[in-house]
Symmetry: C2
Subunit: 360 residues, 2 copies
C-alpha cells in the first residue's frame, strides 16, 4: 500500500524530529554544546520580549493531572507546546511529563516543524536555568547543590558546568537510587560529584541550590534555616497550583525573579505569597532594565515554571539544526491539492491512482 499514490508535494510536508532523531541531534552536537547554544537562543528571545504574544497556558485539569497547550508567536513564527503533567505516571511506568511542539509560519499558517519535546524540554529548562543563573548567581559559584535527582538533574548539572563554570555538584534525593543514577550518568563529565545523605548536607557550601523534585503537594524541600545568605536558588520543581518546594520564609528573605508573572503567580513558589508581592521579570534583568544580583549577602531566587517563549526558542534552535544534521523525516501532514479548491478531487484521484497502481 505504501507507494500506491503519487508522492505529495513539498508544500504538504512537515519536518518531524522524533525522540530518536532528537537524541541523534543531541549526541551529534554534544549535550553541553546543545544546552549552551540553546541558552543563546533563549537569551536572544528574552531580549525581544515585547515582540512576543504572551498567553497563559491553556490547561485541561483532571483528577490525575493536567494537559496543557502553550502557544506563543513573535509575529513571524508561531509555536506551541503540548505537555502533560501526571505525578502518578512514574509509579505506573509512564513519564510524568511528555511533550511535543510545533512551529508554524505566521504569514500562511503552515507548520514548519513538529518535534518531540520530552527530551527538548529538559534541555531548554536546563538552558533557561543557566541563563538566569548567569545574571543572578554569585560570580564565583563553583558548587551547586541538586535536590531532586530525577529526569532533569543531569541536564541541569551540565548546563551549570558549561554556562556558569560549576565544578562540583552535591546530589541529594529522597530515593538514594535516583542519586546513584545521576552520579553514574555524570561520572565522565569532569564534574566532582558528591552523593549526600540529607538536603542539609547537600546545600553545605553550595553557592547555587537547584531544587527539582516531582512531588505534587506543598512539599517543603528547603526550610529557612538551610539557606544561608548570598546563595542563588534555582527552583524548577514547583510548576503547578499546589506544588511548591520552598518554605515561605525563604521566599520572604529572597529577591524573586520570574519568567511571566501572571503564570508564575498561579504555578510558581510565589503562589504562597500575596498576589502583589514584588517580583522582577527575568527578561528585564537580561535587558539591563532591572538589577539582578546587588550584593554578596543577597539571596536570589529564580522561581521557574517554564514559559512558552523558552519552548519557542528551543524549537527555533532545533529547526536551525535540521539542515546541517539531517536528523529528521518529512511527514505528509498537510493536504496540498493542485487546485486548493479541489480537495475532494484530490481525495478521489488518490483512489483512482491508488487502484491503478495496485492493479499494475
Amino acid at each position: 500500500m505504501k507507494n500506491s499514490a503519487p508522492a505529495p508535494s513539498a508544500l504538504a510536508m512537515v519536518p518531524f524530529v522524533s525522540v530518536e532523531n532528537m537524541m541523534r541531534i543531541v549526541n551529534t552536537l554534544g549535550p553541553a554544546n546543545v544546552i549552551e547554544k540553546m541558552a543563546d537562543y533563549i537569551e536572544a528571545d528574552f531580549l525581544r520580549w515585547d515582540q512576543f504574544d504572551k498567553t497563559p497556558r491553556v490547561a485541561a485539569h483532571s483528577r490525575e493531572g493536567v494537559i496543557e497547550l502553550m502557544p506563543t508567536s513573535d509575529g513571524e513564527t508561531y509555536g506551541f507546546k503540548y505537555v502533560n503533567g501526571h505525578p502518578a505516571n512514574m509509579a505506573r511506568g509512564f513519564q510524568t511529563v511528555t511533550a511535543f511542539g510545533v512551529l508554524a509560519r505566521v504569514d500562511n499558517g503552515y507548520p514548519i516543524l513538529l518535534s518531540e519535546m520530552t527530551v527538548l524540554t529538559a534541555l531548554r529548562t536546563a538552558a533557561t536555568s543557566a541563563v538566569a543563573a548567569k545574571h543572578l548567581a554569585p560570580a564565583d559559584s563553583r558548587t551547586m547543590a541538586m535536590i531532586g535527582n530525577g529526569a532533569q538533574c543531569e541536564f541541569q548539572a551540565l548546563a551549570f558546568q558549561r554556562v556558569i563554570g560549576i565544578d562540583t555538584v552535591r546530589l541529594y534525593d529522597i530515593d538514594p537510587q535516583a542519586t546513584r543514577k545521576a552520579a553514574r550518568n555524570l561520572a565522565a563529565t569532569g564534574l566532582k560529584i558528591i552523593q549526600c545523605g540529607s538536603p542539609e548536607e547537600a546545600v553545605s557550601g553550595a553557592g547555587i541550590i537547584t531544587t527539582c523534585t516531582a512531588d505534587k503537594q506543598y512539599a517543603t524541600i528547603l526550610t529557612d534555616n538551610m539557606v544561608g545568605s548570598g546563595v542563588h536558588i534555582n527552583a524548577i520543581g514547583g510548576d503547578c497550583p499546589g506544588k511548591t518546594e520552598l518554605h515561605r520564609d525563604i521566599l520572604l528573605r529572597s529577591d524573586i525573579f520570574v519568567e511571566f508573572p501572571p503564570q508564575t503567580r498561579i504555578e510558581g513558589e510565589i503562589q504562597q505569597l500575596d498576589a502583589d508581592h514584588p517580583v522582577t521579570e527575568l527578561w528585564q534583568v537580561i535587558a539591563n532594565r532591572a538589577e539582578g544580583r546587588k550584593s554578596d549577602r543577597q539571596i536570589t531566587l529564580f522561581d521557574s515554571v517554564g514559559f512558552a517563549t523558552e519552548d519557542f526558542s528551543a524549537l527555533r534552535f532545533i529547526h536551525d539544526q535540521l539542515e546541517t544534521t539531517g536528523h529528521f523525516v518529512e511527514l505528509d501532514m498537510l493536504a496540498d491539492p493542485d487546485d486548493p479548491r479541489d480537495l475532494f478531487g484530490m481525495v478521489k484521484r488518490a483512489d483512482v491512482e491508488g487502484l491503478k497502481l495496485t492493479a499494475s
Copy 2:
C-alpha cells in the same frame, strides 16, 4: 542512520494518519459512508454535551490570518485541533485552511492519535451540517442550493445526499471554474447537478440553501428577497470576526441554531445581531430539550462555525478505524526511558548504542 538505535518501546509510539492515509481511509470505506458514520459520532457527542470541557478557541491573529488551537475533553479523552485561516493563501497556491489534530488519554496525558485534519475537517463539517439539517430542514427536502463551490462543496453535497436524501444540487460560484470543478467531481454520485448563473437561480425551488464562500469581509451572498419561507439555511462560510455571508434581515426572519453560543456570537453570522439575540443550541434540539423545526413556513438557520467537539468526534471516528484499515504509521513521538527518571541516561545510551551499531 535509520536503524542505528534500538527500536523505541510501544509506549513511545503514537499512531499518525497522514494525508495519504486519510485519503486511503476515505476511499477504502467510501466518502459517503465515512460522512454518515462520522455524523453518528458527532450526534452521539452532542447528546453528551454536558460531559465536555468547552473552551472558546485560542486564537493568534495576524495581518494575514489566524492560527487557532481548539481543545476539548470528555473527561476520558482529550483532543485538540491546530487550524489556520489565511484568506490570501489561495491566490498564493496554499490552502486557506490546513489543520491537524491530536487525541490523548486524560488519565496519563499520552497522545494516542496524531492526524491530518485538512481533509478530515471538510468531512466533519459536512457531517455536522447533515446532522443539523436532519433536525431542522423540511422533511421532504430533495433539492439543495450550494452557493460557493470551493473545497467544502462536494463533501456537503455527499453528506446531504446520504443523510438527508437530497437528489438535486444547484451549484453557483462567483467563479464558474469552481462550479465546473464541483459538477465534474459530483458527476458519478447519482445526484442531479444543475450549474446556475446566479445565486438567485441557484436558490430557486431549493428547500435547503448551503452557503460556503471563502471571502473575508462582510460579503452578502444571500439577500433577504432571495430567501422564501420554509427553507433551511446551512451557513458554513462565516467563521471569523468580520466574515459573514447573509444579510442581517434574513437573520431577523430566521430561527437560529448554533453550536456553542459564546463562540458563534464572535465568529458566526449572528455577530451582526445584538449580543442577546435569542439562539437555540443545536445539541438541545438533538437531545429533545428544545424544538427544531416547528412549521413549514419557518426559516431555520444553522449558523455553523465549527466547534471543538466536532473535531473530537471526527478524530474519535478515525481512531476507531485504525485497526481495521491499517492506514496509519507509528511515530516515535514520546520519550520512554526504561526508568522514567533516567531521561539523560536514555539519551547517552542511544549514543553509545548508535555508535556501536554504526561501527559494526
